[in-house]
Amino acid sequence: MSHHVVPLKTYYTIFFALLALTAITVAVAFLDLGALNDVVAMGIASTKASLVILFFMHVKYSSKLTWVAIIGGIIFLAILLIIILSDYMTRGADTFPQAW
């Protein structure tokens, strides 16, 4: 009953990749990229997160059901964030054109 055993070498490479990405995200934060800063920060954080999820949590080798659970969770988190934000983003636009 050996569930997929991930070789140690993979763990080390993932570990160093994560450290490198952390260093990058800190370095990039100090450059002035305007609105892009957040996008880059979230991009790096998501890559790190997916590395941890895929390799450390063995999701790369697990059943489809696990994938459905994870992606489902992310979709519902996105629903929560996006729809709440959509209210705040359009607060000012109450004066819709009368042409409706």
């Binding site: 489902g72 519902f76 709440i84 209210d87 359009t90 636009a93 109450d94």
Partner: protein, 550 residues
């Protein structure tokens, strides 16, 4: 002839051959064996007792509210007390009866039996869920004893965080802990349905009761944590004034409403989906026919569960939420109404060319169909932006959700209680009294809540201790109806307890129903459910095939 109808039919009564085989009830009688049980059937009984207690506690608050509203003036109690009455009625009924009712009692008892498993996936987690529920209930009762809470069951900020001076935190913590009981039950069901089905039992052969609980569990697991963190933020705001929901410190009260309704609207689907599962079982059994459009009912449960998460904003059309967001929520709310409509049409079509018998569970099920239809249709009124602006926070809304909750969810719970009572307790309830109580509840319910539609459109706001005189006639109808409804709910309590002692012993399959819990195990079932795990070969509700006799 009339008494014959109410005498149990020969195949319903246990033959001598069944004998007193040991079952989960008489396995052992010590208190320890009950309080530390990990048997899903015993935990279901523990839930049945604690939930019935909370139901009658909530019912008392309801009666007090209705008595106060008999007269326009606030003459039965102070407005402070009245505000606590409707708040506690809401908190007890929503968090401690409607959300756990059918899943915790019938889901726990029947899910393993229906899919041929020995127990739920995590039995100890199941017992923990009951203890969390009881702890939450005690906290809520504590908040009542120490002076009650007067914020409404919705805990809207900034009133609940800054201006209320009643024990808000105690009641909120009660709901918080009961929320985790709901999460763990949902988690348990999801894993059980995925991983512990009997051989041969594919997804589309499962009873629709199991589909209903699968959809409910997804909502429980995905929705409840958001209200849990919101309650923590309310408690932090109330204790330390951290400014998240307090407008004077820069906070935004509408954010609370978004986070609260993100859970609380799917919560109403947690309340109704299990009842829908029960109705599918009862209608098929008592019209002796396969359900009409099995896949459509199963998938519409899933559609309700998933779409249910997109529509919470229809509680906030008048709350200062942006017009654009209200538009989006209105469209999505109309979409989520379609699966419910499909279900009602399919249940009605199941009766066609069936062989319909009017036992008590069937009466409750038909009552469900009628009342849920009215509830669902009035929901369309509230999804319509322009009408909701007028009727929001009035008695029209109160009538709508009582038609869904009391007319739908509780009618479904009563149908389940009567349908599976012989399997759970091994006793037959008195059929005559049961049909009588079903009729009384139906009449009392309509007399209570239909006038509220009228007074709602007239503009009587919710949560009003005093109201103008011209609304009095409708409130008198409503109070009269509520006393009939109250009696209607007391009658089953009496004859069901009576049947525990002196009801005739039930045969394994008194209703000649299909389903593993009827055909493959005696009533009441033994602790280990099945002697050998059943192999499923036929479709769900295959009434054309022979009924298995254990």
């Amino acid at each position: 002839m009339s008494t014959a109808i109410f005498k149990p039919r020969p195949e319903q009564v246990a033959q001598e051959s069944d004998g007193t085989v040991s079952n989960y009830l008489n396995a052992s009688f010590s208190i320890r064996s009950w309080l530390l049980t990990v048997d899903h059937k015993r935990i279901a009984i523990l839930y049945l007792i604690s939930i019935s207690a909370m139901f009658f506690l909530g019912g008392i608050f309801a009666m007090l509210i209705r008595m106060e509203l008999l007269t326009p003036a606030g003459d039965l109690m102070q407005s402070e007390t009245y505000n606590k009455m409707f708040t506690m009625h809401g908190v007890v009924m929503v968090f401690f009866f409607l959300i756990p009712a059918t899943p915790a009692v019938f889901g726990n008892f029947l899910l393993p039996l229906m899919i041929g498993a020995k127990d739920l996936a995590f039995p100890r987690l199941n017992l923990l869920s009951w203890y969390l529920y009881t702890a939450g209930a005690l906290l809520a009762i504590g908040s009542i004893v120490f002076g009650g809470v007067d914020t409404g069951w919705t805990f809207y900020t900034p009133y609940s965080t800054t201006y209320a001076n009643s024990n808000v935190i105690l009641a909120a913590l009660g709901a918080f802990i009961a929320g985790f009981s709901s999460i763990l039950t949902g988690l348990n069901f999801i894993v059980t349905i995925h991983k512990m089905r009997a051989p041969g039992l594919t997804w589309f052969k499962m009873p629709l009761f199991v589909w209903g609980h699968y959809a409910t569990s997804i909502i429980q697991v995905l929705g409840t944590p958001v209200v849990a963190i919101t309650i923590i933020l309310v408690a932090l705001e109330r204790l330390f004034h951290i400014g998240i929901f307090n407008p004077e410190l820069g906070g935004d009260p509408i954010l609370f409403q978004h986070l609260f309704w993100f859970y609380s609207h799917p919560a109403v689907y947690i309340m109704i989906l299990p009842a829908m599962g029960v109705i599918s079982e009862v209608i098929t059994c008592f019209s002796k026919k396969k359900v009409f459009g099995y896949e459509f009912i199963a998938l519409s449960s899933m559609a309700i569960a998933l779409l249910g998460f997109l529509v919470w904003g229809h509680h906030m059309y008048t709350s200062g939420q942006s017009t654009y967001a209200s538009l989006v929520f209105s469209v999505l709310t109309f979409l989520v109404a379609i699966p419910s409509a499909i279900k009602v049409f399919n249940w009605t079509a199941t009766l066609y060319k069936g062989s319909v018998s009017y036992d008590a569970p069937m009466l409750y099920a038909i009552g469900f169909l009628g009342l849920f239809t009215i509830g669902g249709l009035t929901g369309v009124f509230l999804a319509t932006l322009a009408v909701d602006v007028h009727v929001h926070d009035t008695y029209f809304i109160v009538a709508h959700f009582h038609y869904i909750m009391v007319g739908g969810s509780i009618m479904g719970y009563m149908a389940a209680l009567h349908f599976w009572w012989p399997k759970i307790t091994g006793r037959l309830y008195p059929e005559g009294w049961a049909r009588f109580s079903a009729l009384i509840i139906f009449i009392g319910f309509n007399l209570t809540f239909f006038p509220q539609f009228v007074v709602g459109y007239l503009g009587m706001p919710r949560r009003y201790h005093i109201y103008p005189e011209e609304f009095q006639i409708w409130n008198v109808f409503s109070t009269a109806g509520s006393s009939i409804l109250g009696i209607g709910y007391l009658i089953p309590l009496i004859y069901l307890i009576w049947s525990l002692k002196s009801g005739p012993k039930a045969s394994p399959n008194p209703w000649n129903a299909k389903g593993l819990e009827w055909e493959r195990c005696p009533s009441p079932p033994p602790t280990h459910n099945f002697d050998h795990t059943p192999v499923v070969i036929e479709e769900a509700y295959a009434y054309e095939h022979k009924i298995w006799i254990k």
